[in-house]
Amino acid sequence: MLHDNTNKNEGWTEVIEPKRSLLDVNLKELWRYRDLIMLFVRRDFVSVYKQTVLGPLWLFIQPLFTTITFYFVFSKIAKIPTDNVDPILFYLSGITLWNYFSDCFSKTSNTFVANAGIFGKVYFPRLATPISIVISSLIKLGIQVLLFAGIALYRVYFHGAQISINETILFLPILIILMAIMGLGLGIIFSALTTKYRDLSFLLTFGIQLLMYATPIIYPLSYTSGKLNKILSYNPLTPIIENFRYAFFGIGQLDIQGLIYTSVFSITVLILGVIIFNRVEKNFMDTV
């Protein structure tokens, strides 16, 4: 809790004042609380699966069932093509990536409301909470990527599914970081706004759902054309999904321009988010 940003002459180590400058993120302090962040991650992970029979197996079940549902609804009934990619792998890849973004976004978006009890009693850098959510979702993503790899091997060997992994797969960590940044940025913006206006949390639930359909998860971007295609390419999530599918299935094309657009968007959102979050964290206890 020691700050070094104060009047050294008088030896004060910390000054509590009404307002702080726009981007006063105390990264040093956040770093000092890294143990807390990791303990939050552990808590989130351990507590969810306590007293469940299947435990972490649920991490597999949810994307598998969604994939099967999508397979029947969109592939068998609606007959939406998947660019000659095995539909199971096509959907599973989309869902796996999408789940990470949507977890980061929706779980960080109620940071203040969900943690009002703790935040009202003790001080620690509030950003520790959303950051821990992003990290625990990352572990979940890692497990689900393993699932995806397993299913992919199974489909390739037993069903003759075609995959063609190329060197752009090395971009995968960047894609994931971009999703994390965007999800975190959007999430903390919403978390700051929902402290005063709870309406937004209702909006958010189906907003994220709609956003999924506005992202090429269940259809390839190439399936759309004209105006719709243009609108979809403005969605900063589109390049992430498309580039992953390019790297893994060899469909579509490498979209570096799109990635740059997404990077600029994500970083802007994160900075904006941190500014708003910082302003709200000082006084949210009075309004929450």
Binding site: T13, I16, Y33, R43, V122
Partner: protein
């Protein structure tokens, strides 16, 4: 050396529901700021006073608070509910920020506004020690090095790998306090932790706080428990309606707290004149103390009548009835036999042994009668003649700090008999 300095601290709250109207207010506030004007809602803010149901939407929970705390001091912050104590603590612990003014701090602060903050019911005792410790600002290695101590202090060794949801509430609180007790901040802020837990827990809790202050660290303590405050604190501040009423030695602050809050007074001037008996004052006090001093329960208490006589008066009976605050009678006492007073005297007193009363507020009904050849004559008959508070004594740390039940707490003689 000053370790905390509070300067011109203000805190404003909005009253009522924060709903649709708030968007308009937020917008207006923002617009005025953009135009470089003052916050339009700062001006219309009312005082923090619960009785005054003013029409203002905003209220100052704290106004112009100034005080400083030196290293090693134990500062008691007292005041009745709603005086702003908790708001002040919240600002000090950085849970919320002030509206104006600032607080300067030297050293690491840990605040205990609650024990067990962040405990997760599904996690085991062991896991929760680490989680709670980290929330309170300890690093993992700090916690690890104190882990055994914490477990021993809590006394729940056997259950340390059981989820805390299976703990009894006592075990839960003990474990939570054990973590908090092993924080090593330079400044410790404690809020009413005494309100929970049994006597043994209070004992540990206060003992630990005393240890902390003994090590040269600074403690800020908020409590309604005057016995604890007086025993623990060296200095105090009294808050009332969001303002500091008095700052100083703890005894004088506690005295002001009682004096400023009640309608009772230990001393009453009067003017009764019957048959040459002129009673002009009645008061209650500890022996060897003045009437405007507080009355402490473990010292001898005196009820004193001051009078002037024009002649000798014989056959007086003094009857005193004591009632509690609700008016139920607790005690009746009649002077033993007739009292004869002669013209040279001017004072008569009744002595109540030390420790007879429990702490509390007492109302006194006074009846003075004279027996003469025609029977009895009432001199003075005055219900609710005066009211006085008996305050808890200072207690050695490690003893129960709560209020004992009952109005009287006399200690009686116990005899061992051989049969």
């Amino acid at each position: 050396m000053e370790v905390i300095k509070v300067e011109n601290l203000y805190k404003q709250y909005r009253l009522g529901q924060v709903t649709t109207g708030s968007i308009a207010h937020d917008f207006n506030r923002w617009w005025q700021t953009v135009r470089g004007k003052e916050d339009p809602y700062e001006k219309i803010t009312g005082l923090n006073n619960r009785e005054d149901s003013g029409s203002n939407d905003y209220v100052w929970a704290l106004q112009d608070i100034n005080f400083s705390v030196k290293q090693g001091e134990v500062l008691g912050i007292i005041g009745r509910n709603g005086a702003g104590k908790s708001t002040l603590l919240k600002i000090l612990s950085k849970v919320t920020s002030p509206t104006k003014g600032n607080i300067k701090i030297k050293g690491r602060i840990a605040s205990l506004l609650e024990v067990g903050t962040g405990f997760h019911p599904e996690l085991t005792g062991r896991e929760n020690i680490f989680l709670n410790g980290a929330i309170l600002g300890m690093t993992k290695s700090e916690i690890r090095s104190k882990f055994d101590e914490i477990v021993a202090f809590s006394g729940v060794e056997k259950y340390i790998d059981t989820p805390v949801k299976r703990y009894s509430s006592g075990m839960y609180v003990r474990l939570a306090f054990a973590v908090a007790a092993h924080l090593e901040p330079e400044i410790l802020i404690v809020d009413e932790v005494l309100a929970v837990g049994d006597a043994e827990f209070q004992k540990k809790c206060l003992g630990k706080m005393k240890d902390v202050s003994g090590e040269g660290r600074t403690v800020l303590f908020v409590s309604h428990n005057m016995a604890a405050v007086k025993s623990l604190c060296t200095k105090g501040i009294l808050l009332q309606n969001g303002k500091v009423i008095i700052e100083g030695a703890i005894d004088s602050v506690v005295k002001k707290y009682y004096g400023g809050e009640r309608d009772s007074f230990n001393y009453r001037l009067c003017n009764y004149e019957v048959d040459g008996f002129h009673l002009y004052s009645v008061g209650v006090k500890n022996s060897n103390k003045a009437f405007d001093d507080e009355i402490i329960r473990d010292r001898e208490i005196i009820i004193e009548f001051n009078y002037k006589l024009e002649k000798d008066i014989n056959g007086l009976y003094f009857n005193i009835k004591l009632k509690d605050e609700e008016g139920s009678f607790i005690l009746t006492t009649l002077s033993l036999g007739e009292i004869n007073i002669d013209i040279d005297s001017n004072c008569i007193k009744m002595v109540i042994p030390a420790g007879f009363f429990n702490e509390g507020t007492f109302n006194l009904d006074l009846l003075v009668i004279q027996k003469n050849e025609n029977g009895y004559k009432s001199y003075i008959q005055e219900p609710d003649f005066l009211s006085f508070d008996v305050l808890p004594e200072e207690r050695p740390l490690g003893t129960w700090m709560g209020k004992e039940l009952g109005f009287l707490r006399h200690t009686f003689e116990w005899k061992k008999l051989l049969k």
